[in-house]
């Protein structure tokens, strides 16, 4: 076939891996649920902002981290620009955790796990815990006094469980890899799963709310 020729139309494959994957993806999350332009009327509180704020802060954390990584491990010690980028990274992390904790508490008081949303709650908790690990390895990667002291103290906890050989907090090279590769991948993955679950199941209705049009019932399930 020469350039410019259009391939002749053939019968569409009924069962290809590609078609199966597409069917699977759209089955898990239909386009209308992935990016909705309407939401239930009961969604009317500032507490709903903190989930999106967590996500936005994570984007800033990753963005500033990418810039920091370009300069190498010593850049932010000996360059005012590097130090400023490090400051951006620090404060975006502080905002990220603040937003995430408020989001978590908000969802707790809303009992947001109701209606088969248990896995959404679990992925949120795992995202929080993995983020703590990422922040911890970030402090160890700073190669300053904080890193020395946190490494010196932190090793005892991890060694006490017999895991220190595989996660050696006194090895800054290893910790840097955990901080900029392994744990961000883990956080990124779990956050994507969390957001997909949120979009798939929608925002949890108010406690004791009856489905519109249905007979009034008392919801006992939490």
């Amino acid at each position: 076939m020469t350039a410019g020729q259009v391939p002749a139309p053939g019968p569409a494959p009924t069962r290809s891996w590609t078609a199966s994957l597409r069917t699977r993806i759209t089955g898990v999350l239909p386009p209308g649920q992935a990016l909705p332009d309407r939401q239930p009327a009961y969604v009317a509180s500032w507490i709903y902002v903190f989930g999106v704020l967590s996500l936005a802060a994570l984007v800033v954390v990753i963005g500033t981290g990418l810039v920091l990584s370009m300069g190498g491990v010593a850049w932010w010690h000996d360059s005012s620009l590097g130090h400023f980028v490090n400051s951006l990274h620090l404060w975006s992390v502080e905002i990220f955790f603040a937003a995430m904790v408020i989001h978590l508490w908000g969802k707790f008081w809303m009992a947001a796990w109701r209606g088969k949303r248990g896995l959404t709650w679990v992925t949120g908790v795992v995202a929080f815990v993995t983020s703590i690990g990422t922040a911890f390895t970030g402090y160890l990667s700073q190669s300053n006094f904080d890193s020395q002291w946190i490494g010196s103290e932190g090793k005892d906890g991890i060694n006490s469980l017999g895991a220190g050989a595989w996660f050696n907090v006194l090895n800054p090279g290893q910790m840097l890899m955990w901080h900029i590769v392994l744990l961000p991948l883990a956080v990124g993955f779990i956050v994507v799963v969390h957001v997909v679950l949120v979009r798939r199941h929608g925002v949890v209705p108010p406690l004791d709310a009856a489905e519109p049009g249905a007979p009034v019932s008392r919801t006992e399930a939490d």
């Binding site: 905002i95 009992a111 209606g115 248990g118 469980l161 800054p172």
Partner: protein, 314 residues
Amino acid sequence: MATLTRTRTTTPDSHAFETRPYDLVKEFVIALAVVAVLTTVLAAVFSSPDDKAITMQRWAAAAPDDVVATAVGELAGTTTSATYGAPYNHASEGQKLLGLPLQKWGGVRIPVDSQELVLQPLSGFAGDPRLAASLQLWRSASPQQQQTWATSYADALAKAGGNPAAVPVGGYGPVPLLASSFLQLARTGGLEGSLTSSGNFYGGDQTRTMLLLADGAYLEDQAVAQHLGGDQWGMMNETGNYPGQPWMWLYTFWYQVKPFSTSPNADAQVWALMMALTLVLALLPWIPGLRSIPRWIPVHRLVWRQWYRAHPRA
């Protein structure tokens, strides 16, 4: 007519409720802009802490007696790292959890010989015949003889208030000269990098250097002065007046109270407790009682106050 059923109903589908317009992408972009601006303002106003790492040279200049005492302790096998256990050596069983020696089970996978923390840097310090003779004498002596020399000198140092110059002459073998040479080497900056990665040009592993530094008192003294000590809620703090890691509050809390604050197995106990509590948090939707707390304490009526106003309970 509405009926009241006591069946264990499921939470209604959120998609069945009346809706109103909502722009998800716009909300995210605004949130991103707000976070970016807030981050920039906070960074510009408050900057970020960066206390320089303690070098061996700085340690020697600020606390020479501590360097000598640490070197003698490494030779005598009495320092923290010398008596640590896994993953560095077999000197102790390490911490236990419910009687199980988890630390020991991890194995000695990062071997560290405390004497070599002193002897290896000194061995590379050529040009001093007295030091070479002292090293030769030390290495040719039996372990018992080495122990006797180093322990005698450590005791004499303690009696002299840590001041090597005030130690009376005694049977310490080559230990005083090894220790003073070690201090001299540290003062010149020659200790820097000498323990990283066993001669690897790209020394990226600071395990042995950090163990040596942490065996002295100077590192901890500096940390305590910055309110970073374990009994000062130090895991939440950061050098200077910065917010640090407030998300560590519960982990840090346990170290402040008994039985953890006085337990030799505190690290293992606190880690296990925090893992158990994290598991409880993750599995909370399925734990009777705990999952009902939001129903008993109706904070949700604030969140959905508009909805409850429009839909009063029957």
